[in-house]
Structures are given as structure tokens and as C-alpha cells.
Amino acid sequence: MTLIGWLQIALAVGLVLATVAPLGAYMARVYAGEVRFLAPVENGFYALAGIDPRREQSWAGYTMAMLAFNAAGFALLYGILRLQDVLPLNPAGMPAVPPDLAFNTAVSFTTNTNWQAYGGEATLSHFSQMAGLTVQNFVSAATGMAIAIAFARAFARSGATTIGNFWADMTRSTLYVLLPLALVMALAMVLLGLPQNLSGPVEATTLEGGKQAIAQGPVASQLAIKMLGTNGGGFFNANSAHPYENPTAWTNLLELWAILAVAAALTATFGRIVGDRAQGRALLAAMLVMLGAGIVACYGAEAAGNPILAKLGLTEAANWEGKETRFGIATSSLWAVFTTAASNGSVNAMHDSFTPLGGLVPMFNIQLGEIVIGGVGAGLYGMLLYAILAVFVAGLMVGRTPEYLGKKIGGREVKLTMLALLISPMTILVFTALACVWPGAAESLANQGPHGFGEYLYAYSSGAGNNGSAFAGLSANTPFFNITIGLAMLFGRFLMIVPMLAVAGSLVAKPKVEPGAGTFPTTGPIWVGLLVGVILILGGLTFFPALALGPLVEHFAMQAGDLF
């Protein structure tokens, strides 16, 4: 670890924190319906779709609208992928995407996962990238934001029956938050060197007289929303490690900011919606504690490197395999922590080649539910579920009915919260176990021994956590992995959202009670400590056995010099 490394890390984290307050305040105005600079477009959309944005929905209505919209998005994307060979803008002549891969990819992008079982530049036409994937990058992120705002309203309102209008929340998220940010960022990216064209691959004659084909495309426009919407699906197979997606240290810094900017600012939006900004700051503080710990652990492990390499007579032991020269060890490690703290899943270095403990950090971040700042929307509502659980634990300790933000938390809410929080661990562990015994699954592994087990565990964690990053050595484009990881993504997204919105429906109906002498305060260091503790105990106990079989065993094997 170097001072310059830490300065770069501090700069990136500082940039994220600098935009929390202004962006958070702006988004609060957006969801209150006060921002209207695209009113003609917005009203036109409502009119054509037959929507009255002022008619609010119950939790069940909100959920049904969200599910219907996601189902339609899935169907359209699946259709585009299956038909890309006859659709326009296919200069490289890509054939239609096979059914199991099209299913996996359509699920992946509608659930905001952006798991990629394919290599972008080797599989997809420009039309599929634009009209298929880019669209879902916007609206799957907008869906997550809408749900988080609806959940926040459940705490803000007293004795109400509705939590907002899904169509209005989703439309405003896209028109007033994601689209303007994406336009500015895409423009900045072009000025910093990213390609943005509709050409096929360019043929170059190399200095040594060989041939090099270089894939082209509308990279900047897709990259901007892939980062801002915590989607993470790269235009190219190598994602943001590819020099066309991330050519310089400046683009790297801007992309790092974009991973966390919207999700971090949503904590401030939450504070404003519930009328107590300290509540939002307390949630952000808990997130930052875990973010900091992850950065120290991951950067430390990658900088310490691999003792096996050190014996070969090289200049440094630091782990350069799978990292780009221009980013270095520090910002490659930082990216791994950011991208899994959020549900982004883009990469600027290959996690599969990280040291065992360096790779454990991103995996554990995902397994905790990506609440360490988290995905846009998904991070906030995941964190709020843990907050409900933390006040419940505190209530058990002192024998009082738990309250959060003036809402009494009853048995129904705690049961639904546990249901929402247990779906993801169950999905991850059951599918990982299934892969271990499935005939032929092991042929997809690029690594043997405990690292190979890690490839399975990471894949299903990434799927169920809707992250999308990978231990990418796993050749996941097989019917078994396409289908099981596809299901993991669906379970991890919707089986969590539905009970969560049910909690919102039950909370919004409750009266808000004034805090009394016995109310446990949900701001301040004790609360932050309790919240982090509950998250780590739940996550740690659930995943410790699996992590022990994978990265931990591998760490000790590496120290002993064992190879597999």
C-alpha cells in the first residue's frame, strides 16, 4: 500500500460524498413532483400509456404495476436478442442469440444484475446493445429507485393506504435523474476519449505486419448509464477494464464516482422524505464504516500480493495478474469494493485473479446484500430492512416494542423482513451446492481446488445479489448455468421486493407515534454500531462456512505454496 494509492482512494470517496447532499436534495424534489423541466415529454408518456400520475396505488397495486412493467421489458429484450440477426444495426453480422443465453441475458438486464454469460463484442449487435440493453439499464435502475422511494413514504406517512404511483416514480427517476446525468456523463466520456460510433470492427495492419480487428460501437452512451444505474453490463467482455470503456485515470475516477453517486445520495433523499435528515446520515454512516473496512482489507491483500510469485524472481509481489497498468493496484482494489458495495458489477480488474482475501471482500460485500451504499434504490431498501431487524433486536434486549421512525414494528413486519432477507442467502447456498454435484458443471471451471469452488459461490452470489460481476473464469454460457443463474437473479430481485413492499403496505397504514423516553434513538454512533453488528452477524454466520471452504482455505494454501 502506498501513500499515492491512498490519496487516489480518498479522492474517489471524497467525490462521492461531495455530491450526496445536493443530489439527494434534488431527488427529493423530483419525487415530490416539483421538478418539471421535461413536463411535455412526461405528460405525453402518461397520456399515451393511459396513466393518471396523481392516482396513487396500494402496495399491491404498486407491486403489480412494477411486475407488469418488468415482464414487458423482459419480453421485448428477449425478442430483440432472438431476432438480432434480422434487425438493423448489425455491422458485424452477429447471429441470433440462442434461447438459454437470451433468457439469461434478458433476466439479467431487467433485474438490474447485468450478469453477462457472453462477450459483448463477440455476441451482440449494436441494435441489441442500444434498444435492448441500454433501455433496461435505465428502467431497471428507475424501478429500483421507485421502490426505495415508495418504501420511504411508508415511514413518512401516517395511517395511509397508498405508497405512491409506480409509473410516476419510475418515469421521474428516468427523465429527471438518470437521463440528464447520463447525457452529461456520456458527453464527458467522449471528450475523455471513448468511442461513440455505429461502425463494424476496424481492420488494422500492425507494425509487425499482422492483422488486428478492433471492435467499435456506441460505447460512451451505454457506459454512462451502465455506471450511473448500478447496472454494470459492459459493452465489451472486459467491461471497464477495456481501454475503450475506461481509457485513462480520469475516466476511471469519474466512473468510480458514478458507481456510488446516486445510491449514496438516496440516503439523503430518504432523510428528507421522512422529515429527519439525521436518519439518512446515520444509514450512510453505517454504510461508510463497512465500505472503509472493505477497502482496507482488499487493497491490503492485493498490495501484499502472492508469495508464490515472489519466489520466481520478480520485482514486486503485488498482484498484477488481471489488472491494467494505468489503474494500478490501489484503484483496481477500490473498484472491486465499490462495484460490489453497490450492485454495479462492472469491473476494471479481473476478480477471479485477485488474491484469496482480496477476492473474498467483493464476494462478501455481495452476500451481505449490497447494502454497503448499494444499488440505486436496492441498496436503500435493503438497508432499511436491516434497520427494521436492528430495532427489533434492540427491542428484544430491553423488552420493549421496537419502533423505527415512529412506526411500531410488529410481528408481521419482522416476519416479512426476515423472509425478504433470507431469500438471497438461500438461493446462493442451494444453487452453489447444486452446481457442486451437477454432472458436467465442473467442466466450466477455469480454476481447480478451493478457487474453483469460489467460482461457483461467486456466480450465484452475483446472480442472487443482482450484482453481475464474476469470477469470470467460469464458462457460464451453458444451459445449466444460464438457467440456474437466471433463476437466482429472478429470486434475488423479485422474491425480495414483494415481501419488502408488503412491509411498506403494512407500515404505511400505522399511525406515527411520537418518540418517548424509552424509544431507542436511530441516529448516533450506538445505532450505527448496532446496525453494522446486526448486518455482520447475519451475513457472517450465514456465509462463513461457504467462505471457509473457498477463499479462506485458498488463502492458507497460497501461504503454504500449494498449487491446484
Partner: protein
Amino acid sequence: MLTHLRPALAMTLLFTLLTGIAYPLAMTGIAQAIAPEAANGSLIERDGKVIGSSLIGQGFSDPKYFWPRPSAAGKSGYDGTSSSGSNLGPTSKALMARIQGDIDKVKDGSAPVPTELVTASASGLDPHISPAAALYQVPRVARARGLPEATIRDLVLRQAEGRALGFIGEPRVNVLRLNLALDGIARRPQG
């Protein structure tokens, strides 16, 4: 569910038109107008022919050129349509064998080999090596070209790029640009 059918279908189509067609096409138009070189892939031409991109690494194996890092892009490396890292983990036998092979290839003298010169990048298209990794290759390139080491070393130091503002990014040398500059020396009339 049926009451949501029309809004769901209509909104999906409308957002596809806005964010999937209008947004990327508008960005393409703007990019082509304000930054055509970058928008078209930062291609480098010599004598009217495209010889590569300044952003995309290119394979070199001739001793008279500087060599880039090992590449896992495509079957033989540096395939610009198939970016990829090796994805081999830290306890992989295959990785250690590959690194040993790369050490044997670049080893020149008794100094330790720069680590990133024998480790594959994440994209397989890394256009850079560190200045240390370039300086390490100076004796070999000088021998192969019959030029003094000092000339080559000066060229490397001139081509080296530092950190932005002194702390952002890493020191690096663009291998393709460096090799182009090398060919430039050779082409210059002697005297």
C-alpha cells in the same frame, strides 16, 4: 394485472424509443461532431493505412520492438474483438507455468523481471507497460537495432507519461506509440 397491461406495454415502447434509440443516436451525432477522432476509436494511421488504435494494445514479439504484457484476448492474444483476462487464480498451476514461461522469454541479464511484464492484464488489450518494464527491455532492443542503449533509453523516458496532478493514475508508457517512435529513429537518415 390486466389494468396494468396497457401502461406496461406503452411505457416499455416509449422508453425504448427515448433511451434506446434517441439517446444513443443523439450522443453518436454529438460525439462525431465535437470529437470525431475519439468517437471513431482513436485510430492511428501511417502512410494512409490504419495501423492500430492508441488506446488498444497490440502484440509484438520481434526483439527489435518493445513487448507488451501477456494477453488473454482471443486465441493468440491482443484480439481486438475478444477482450479478456486470463482469470487464473493465485493458486493456479496453469498460471504459474505461464508466468515462468513468460519470464524465460523476457529475461535479459540478472536483474529481477518487472512483475507486470509477465502478468496478463484484465482486458488483454492493455496499451501500456510501466516505465520500469520498458527500461528493462532497452538492452535487448538496442542490441537488435544496433543502436546505443542511451538513445533508446532517452526515447523511453520521452514517451513515459506520469501521474495526472502528480497522484492520479500510474506512470506508464504506450507500447505502440513507443514502437512507432522507434521506427521513426530508424527511418531518419543517418548523419
